[in-house]
């Protein structure tokens, strides 16, 4: 502990012990605890207490009957726990009978303060901290704390109840993982008394008819198997698994969610997953629980690296069941391969879905979400039923938009339940997008495109659904451009594209900005991937979409303008932004896209479009876009000028990014310090001076927004590495006079940004670069801005300041 903190500590302890003093707030106390924890972890707690008797006094102070606030009481309990975590310190505190006073019967347990949840929570956390050594275990056993923990499991405060469960696990672990672990028997009846007591309690709970008690026990077991890896966990599972299995015989199965959590936690534990009984229980659980409850278990099982194949098939069946039901209910004619064929079709009768709409929607959504997560995994079930899954998703989407016409009664019910349901539509479209990574029979792919188009065309699609439909369409269009990259779209996809563009045209005129925005995003992505394909180019140029996109640069919504900027950037880099053909525009000369975007950069009132322009410009510069490549210097100069005056720091960062791209073009890419050849360097420096890059970079170095300064620092470091060989970095003797430049920089650093730097010669730049300690600056900038305020010293000062101990500001009451 540093001396300043040590000096402040007694005063702080006095404040904390004084019930009349208002304590700052809970976050201060939390920070204080964090600090003490760090201090005790670094050194001996015993020494700390001996050096600072005020701390012991504070702990003892609590034992006196008085009106301490529950916050302070809770704080002291936790603090005592932190100190007592070290055995010698524990003994030191025990000598003064402090610990029984705090944690035993005479303490807050019996007092009125116990009614406050924060005190109960502090009591548990204190014990949790101190339960680290055999002495603590004895203390816990003797003080009767374990019984209190049992009762706290049912505490009305969920935080307390959950912490009580965790504490039980901690105690178990402590009792069984001691130095004698090698001798711990796998049989629970040989265990220490304290552990036996807990196990008995868990058994009682599992046998109980009251669901909350069963849930408590399951939570405790889940935590134990999830966090503890001692051999004893095996013994515990052997002892309790029959009781867990017996839960499945009850109707309904109590606490299904907690049960699923427990089974998954056991299955993930390397110690226990070899137990064949586990897989049996899991299989039984899958078949006993309702599809909604079993879904998470099935998904968890399928994500496991190794588990019996039969169980995997069964679990997959659970996930597929709702989709299989949909397929069956909507089947126009028999003959379509069923989803569950060859899986566990005989295990489950595909006959029912939940009767209520919300339950049915929930089941479908979770099944779709689970399958979506499974699809990309290497351990996903194989064979993956791609075709029936596609058919099922298409059927669901048809039910949702009312275009399905099922004959069966079940289909009719589904139709009524799913009609217009946005949640299911979103989940199904997400999954459909993921399914594009696999192929499907042509006939189904045709259906996929048809339903996607229906969604895109339908005025009833909500903006979020539409966005997902656009994303899924993009996935499918890209996946049907096979073989990747070199060939046009398939003929069918080409056909779809035509219709798609006419939909897009209308969507770009939508009164709803989200729709315009997702339309533009789709266009940008599509162009990025397909901009070079003749089929796509033809279709796009024949539509009015490019012209509409250009018009959306004036959209009233800034997000839309930003997306329009990105789209215009992408379109024009592929040469797809033809001049408009309509006669009324012919008279006025059309601005080039570059000019239009520069206009946005200099005039737009919102940050998003300007940031988007900077991103496009950087991309253009990197990719050698024609208009830029003509005269890159002029381009960079204009952009940097605009960006340097921008109020949005992200735009300025983007400006530096663009400057970096320009540097890389002149000096070669950022690499292992390859110094540029002198001739090229001189030319490059001239160019950099002409575009006033240095003025921008130096100014940014002292920017009030840290990311800008950091970026600029990186840029200058890069430049220095390129321009000045490390060997002669100190040879600045006969350089040009840079005092005026340095003076200006100092003024900038002091916050006077008004004065320009004036003309800079390359030599002067190099000299300044040499003289600046950029590394030190980089280190300073790397520290977070509140590093001063976060020190413990500052914390103590703050806490004292709030109660007026530090200052001389005795309240003046006149």
């Amino acid at each position: 502990m540093d001396p300043e903190c040590a000096r402040l500590l007694p005063a702080l302890c006095d404040v904390l012990a004084d019930p009349r003093q208002p304590v700052a707030d809970d976050t201060c106390l939390e920070k204080l605890l964090d600090w003490f924890k760090a201090v005790t972890e670094a050194g001996s707690s015993l020494l700390l207490l001996q050096d600072h008797p005020c701390l012991v006094e504070l702990l003892f102070h609590v034992l006196k009957p008085q009106d301490l606030s529950s916050r302070i009481l809770s704080f002291v309990l936790r603090l005592a726990g932190i100190f007592a975590a070290q055995e010698n310190c524990f003994q030191y505190l025990q000598q003064g009978e402090l610990l029984p006073g705090l944690f035993g019967e005479p303490g807050p347990l019996g007092a009125a303060a116990w009614a406050a949840p924060s005190v109960r929570s502090g009591w548990i956390q204190g014990l949790h901290s101190l339960a680290q050594h055999p002495s603590a275990l004895r203390f816990l056993a003797d003080s009767g704390a374990v019984d209190t923990i049992f009762s706290l499991q049912g505490d009305p405060s969920l935080f307390v109840a959950s912490a009580a469960g965790q504490l039980l696990v901690r105690v178990l672990d402590l009792a069984l993982c001691g130095p004698a672990e090698g001798h711990i028997s796998l049989q629970a009846w040989d265990w220490p008394a304290c552990a036996r007591k807990i196990v008995c309690h868990l058994e009682d709970c599992l046998r109980s008819e009251a669901t909350p008690r069963v849930t408590q026990a399951l939570h405790v077991l889940t935590t134990a198997f999830g966090h503890c890896h001692g051999l004893w966990t095996q013994g515990l599972w052997v002892q309790l698994s029959p009781l867990v299995a017996r839960l499945l015989e009850k109707d309904p199965v109590p606490a299904p969610h907690a049960l699923v959590d427990l089974l998954l936690s056991v299955a993930r534990s390397s110690m226990l997953s070899s137990d064949p009984g586990l897989w049996e229980t899991a299989a039984q659980t899958l078949s006993r629980l309702s599809p909604t409850q079993a879904g998470p278990l099935a998904a968890g099982i399928l994500k496991l690296q190794d588990c019996p194949q039969a169980l995997r098939i069964q679990a997959f069946g659970v996930l597929l069941q709702p989709l299989a039901f949909v397929l069956e209910a909507t089947a126009q004619a028999p003959g379509m391969p069923g989803l569950l064929e060859g899986a566990a079709g005989d295990l489950m009768a595909v006959d029912t879905l939940p009767p209520s709409k919300s339950a049915c929607v929930g089941l479908l959504c979770s099944a779709l979400a689970h399958l979506e997560l499974l699809q990309p995994l290497p351990q996903r079930p194989s064979p993956w039923p791609q075709a029936p899954l596609l058919a099922a998703v298409v059927a669901i989407l048809r039910l949702c938009n009312g275009s399905a016409a099922p004959n069966s009664e079940a289909g009719g019910r589904l139709c009524a339940m799913l009609g217009g349901c946005v949640r299911v539509q979103r989940a199904a479209l997400d999954f459909l997008g993921v399914l594009s990574q696999g192929l499907g029979p042509q006939e189904l792919v045709t259906q996929v495109f048809a339903i996607l188009l229906e969604y895109l065309v339908s005025p009833d699609s909500s903006p979020t659904v539409l966005k997902k439909a656009f994303q899924a369409t993009l996935c499918w269009l890209l996946s049907s451009a096979a073989p990747p990259g070199c060939c046009d779209l398939e003929p069918y996809a080409q056909l779809v594209l035509g219709e798609l563009l006419s939909v897009l045209r209308k969507r770009l005129c939508s009164p709803c900005w989200e729709v315009r925005d997702s339309g533009l995003e789709f266009l940008t992505q599509m162009t990025r991937h397909q901009g070079g394909q003749a089929g796509f180019r033809q279709a796009l140029l024949a539509s009015e979409v490019p012209e509409l996109t250009r018009q959306l640069l004036q959209d009233p919504e800034s997000y839309v303008r930003a997306s329009a900027v990105a789209a215009v950037g992408q379109l024009s880099s592929w040469g797809l932004l033809a001049a408009p053909s309509s006669p009324e525009h012919a008279a006025t000369p059309q601005k080039t896209p570059l000019e239009e975007l520069l206009l946005v950069l200099t005039t737009d009132s919102e940050g998003f479009p300007r940031r988007a322009v900077m991103r496009v410009f950087t991309e253009w510069l990197r990719d050698g876009y024609a208009d830029v490549a003509e005269d890159p210097e002029r381009f960079v100069a204009r952009v940097l000028q605009a960006a340097s005056g921008d109020l949005d720091w992200e735009v300025r960062v983007q400006g530096l990014e663009l400057a970096l791209a320009f540097l890389e073009q002149l000096l070669g890419p950022c690499g292992p310090s390859a110094v540029a050849p002198p001739g090229a360097l001189a030319q490059a420096l001239q160019a950099l001076c002409r575009v006033q890059l240095f003025e921008f970079a130096f100014r940014s170095l002292f920017d009030c927004d840290r990311p800008v300064a950091q970026k600029s620092c990186d840029l200058l470091l890069f430049l220095r590495a390129k321009a000045i060989p490390s060997s002669n970095s100190q040879e600045a003797g006969d350089g040009p006079d840079v005092t005026s430049v340095e003076a200006a920089l100092r003024r900038w650093q002091a916050g006077e940004q008004g004065q320009p730097l004036g003309e800079l010669a390359p030599e002067a730049v190099l000299a300044v670069l040499r003289s600046m300690d950029l590394e030190a600056l980089q280190d300073t900038l790397a520290e977070s801005s509140d590093h001063v305020e976060r020190s413990p010293q500052s914390l103590l000062q703050d806490m004292l300041a709030t109660v007026g101990v530090l200052g001389d500001n005795e309240a003046d009451c006149y």
């Binding site: 016409a405 004959n407 019910r413 139709c415 009524a416 005025p459 005129c509 009164p511 729709v515």
Partner: protein
């Protein structure tokens, strides 16, 4: 209680309810779909229309009228729920001998008048040289091309009414306000409630002291311009008559408005014109409001919007003055002071211009590309006919249908072939089936009555079980020209007792909380009010003063035997019989009670819930003895 169903059109209902000796007509909508059988009436002589093969300009305009199911002169009152549902009023009030009263809210009457005025104006300004009616003869009609030959009851089609008839019909209307209680002949009380669909639109409650019938017609739960729907007052109905649901249950009005705006912008940006056939009031206010917000964002501020109707000006101005009938949001604007509808600002800034017709000022101001709102949505008459002819040939132009009353394909038929784009964005804010089922769950009527169209999915989407009224017990359905006996019996009637008579009653408590008293009185019934009055005293002969006063109090009627109540506990009764010397008693249980058999005396006592018989052979003494024993167990009063 009977319901006579005169209209087969669920959104243009016309029903007659006979309830407690009153005859109440609920709405009189005018089904104008038959006009689609006729050619458009052009403002300018159109050689194309008049030369169409196989067609000739015949009878101008005909409308379906009511069947002779009921003598309309017996109708006591007509309740109007909204301005679309009163368009047949002149046919009923002017030519049937109707002498009753019509009840409607003020905006309904004013806007209904505008609609009628527009209709009459559209028809009368293109007078016909000749008219034909011979074809209505069934034998000739059979020879006509389809669909005319399949049309039903063409003989009841009528010519359009005149302005004079309109004025006369409207003069019979009495204005009412929401929640106002109107007594009809003392028998029933009717009350209009806000229905949320249009300015002044109302649902009606028709109730007597013990029965309540709700009439729900054209209601909306969406937040548009009118006052929101009053659902709470519909609770506890015995019967709820449900009509006027949305005609396009699959189209969500919000998405249709979005579609409308997108298509409008797309057309105008390409230099095309947009034509919106519409009524002069209603959805147009909401459309203008949406456009007001949209045009700037879509960069359409330089595009002129024209609203052409003989009543355009009145419609736009009326909408601003009915503040009390508007939704809360718009009401508050009145105090700001701001006009409740933003179309006022559109007019001020010259973005929206309105004209009575295409003649006159409009032809000077007309500038393209533009957006034109005009009637009639059937495309058979009105200024819209001119624009269809003018713009139909160019594929740059678009016609956007927003009114759901007419099939747009049929409306377009006489204009084919058409190059113009056609967009169908029907905007119908009336209740859809999901909202109906929520409403019924909340309101909990005992019985629901609705047109048969609502009790099954639409024919084109027979699998959509969600597109029908779903309630328990199942809704009763009606079809045109059907008489429905409503499924509840009136069981109680309220009768008042005169104070002096009530004073003389001496109630006796027979059970805790229930007291009874006998009353002798005269029931006086007048104007459907029933009053119990004290019985008249006997007319005193002249010179009666000499008689003893005591005789004054003897009532005229004979002495009444006391009334009995209570039940006979059989076991105790048998014990009593035994105590009184009867022996050899057998008790048999029957379905209705017990039979006590006195075998020795050959006597039978039947004890049932509501009667007791003593059957013995001519032994009057025994009978009286037994009777007195029975009476011991009963209370008398």
């Amino acid at each position: 209680m009977k319901l006579y169903c005169l209209s087969g059109h669920p959104t243009l209902p016309c029903n007659v309810l006979k309830f407690k000796s009153t005859t109440i007509m609920l709405d009189c909508g005018l089904d104008m779909t038959s006009t689609l059988n006729f050619l458009p009436l052009p403002l300018v002589q159109s050689p194309r229309l008049s030369n169409l093969p196989g067609w000739s300009l015949k009878d101008g305009n005909a409308f379906l009228d009511k069947t002779e199911l009921i003598d309309l002169s017996t109708v006591d009152v007509i309740l109007i729920s909204n301005y679309h549902c009163m368009m047949a009023l002149p046919y009923i009030t002017e030519h049937t001998g109707f002498t009753g009263t019509v009840y409607a809210t003020e905006p309904t009457v004013q806007i209904g008048r505008l609609l009628m005025e527009e209709l009459v104006n559209f028809i009368e300004r293109v007078p016909k040289a000749q008219s034909a009616s011979l074809w209505k003869n069934k034998d000739i009609q059979r020879l006509l091309p389809s669909p005319l030959k399949d049309a039903v009851e063409v003989s009841t089609w009528r010519r359009c009414y005149t302005m004079q008839e309109v004025n006369s019909a409207l003069s019979k209307i009495q204005l009412v306000g929401y929640s106002q209680k109107i007594e009809l002949f003392g028998a029933v009380q009717v009350t209009p409630l806000s229905s949320g669909y249009a300015l002044g639109s109302s649902n009606w409650i028709i109730q007597s002291h013990y029965e309540k019938v709700s009439y729900v017609s054209g209601s909306s739960l969406l937040t548009t311009h009118p006052q929101p729907m009053d659902q709470a007052s519909l609770k506890n109905s015995d019967v709820l008559i449900l009509t006027g649901l949305t005609q396009i249950p699959t189209a969500n009005p919000d998405s249709m408005v979005g579609e409308f705006c997108s298509n409008l912008a797309l057309t105008v940006r390409n230099g095309g014109n947009v034509l919106v056939p519409c009524y002069p009031s209603g959805v147009i206010y909401d459309l203008l409001e949406c456009l007001y917000q949209y045009i700037d964002s879509a960069g359409l501020s330089s595009i002129p919007f024209y609203f052409i109707s003989p009543v355009a000006n009145s419609s736009l101005e009326f909408s601003q003055i009915f503040a009390e009938w508007l939704c809360h949001n718009k009401q508050t604007k009145v105090y700001l002071p701001e006009p409740p509808f933003p179309h006022a600002e559109l007019i001020q800034t010259n973005k929206l211009k309105h004209y009575p017709s295409i003649h006159g000022d409009f032809s000077n101001d007309f500038r393209q590309p533009c957006v034109v709102f005009t009637g009639h949505p059937s495309l058979r008459f009105g200024d819209v006919v001119h624009f269809m002819e003018l713009w139909g040939k160019s594929s740059l132009n678009t016609v956007i249908f927003t009114e759901p009353d007419f099939s747009y394909l049929e409306a377009l038929a006489p204009y084919q072939p058409l190059a113009m784009k056609c967009i169908y964005c029907p905007i119908d804010t009336r209740l859809n089936f999901i909202q109906v089922s929520k409403l019924l769950k909340e309101v909990q009527p005992l019985h629901v009555v609705c047109p048969e169209q609502y009790t099954q999915p639409p024919p084109a989407q027979s699998h959509r079980m969600d597109l029908m009224v779903d309630c328990q017990p199942p809704a009763m359905s009606y079809r045109r020209a059907e008489v429905l006996a409503l499924p509840f019996k009136r069981r109680y009637e309220k009768i008042e007792i005169m104070p002096e008579l009530a004073d003389s009653l001496v109630p006796m408590e027979i059970k805790p909380g229930i007291s009874l008293a006998t009353v002798s009185a005269v029931l006086h019934t007048k104007d459907n009010k029933h009053v119990l009055q004290p019985p008249p005293r006997p007319t005193q002969p002249t010179g009666g003063k000499k008689r003893k006063r005591a005789s004054d109090d003897i009532p005229d009627c004979k002495v009444l035997k006391p009334l009995l109540s209570g039940s006979i506990p059989v076991d105790q009764f048998v014990q009593t019989l035994e105590k009184h010397g009867f022996s050899d008693i057998k008790v048999e249980d029957t379905a209705k009670g017990h039979i006590v058999l006195l075998q020795e005396a050959e006597t039978l006592i039947q004890i049932e819930e509501d009667s007791t018989h003593i059957i013995c052979d001519d032994d009057e003494v025994l009978r009286v003895r037994l009777r007195d024993l029975v009476l011991k167990f009963l209370q008398k009063f």
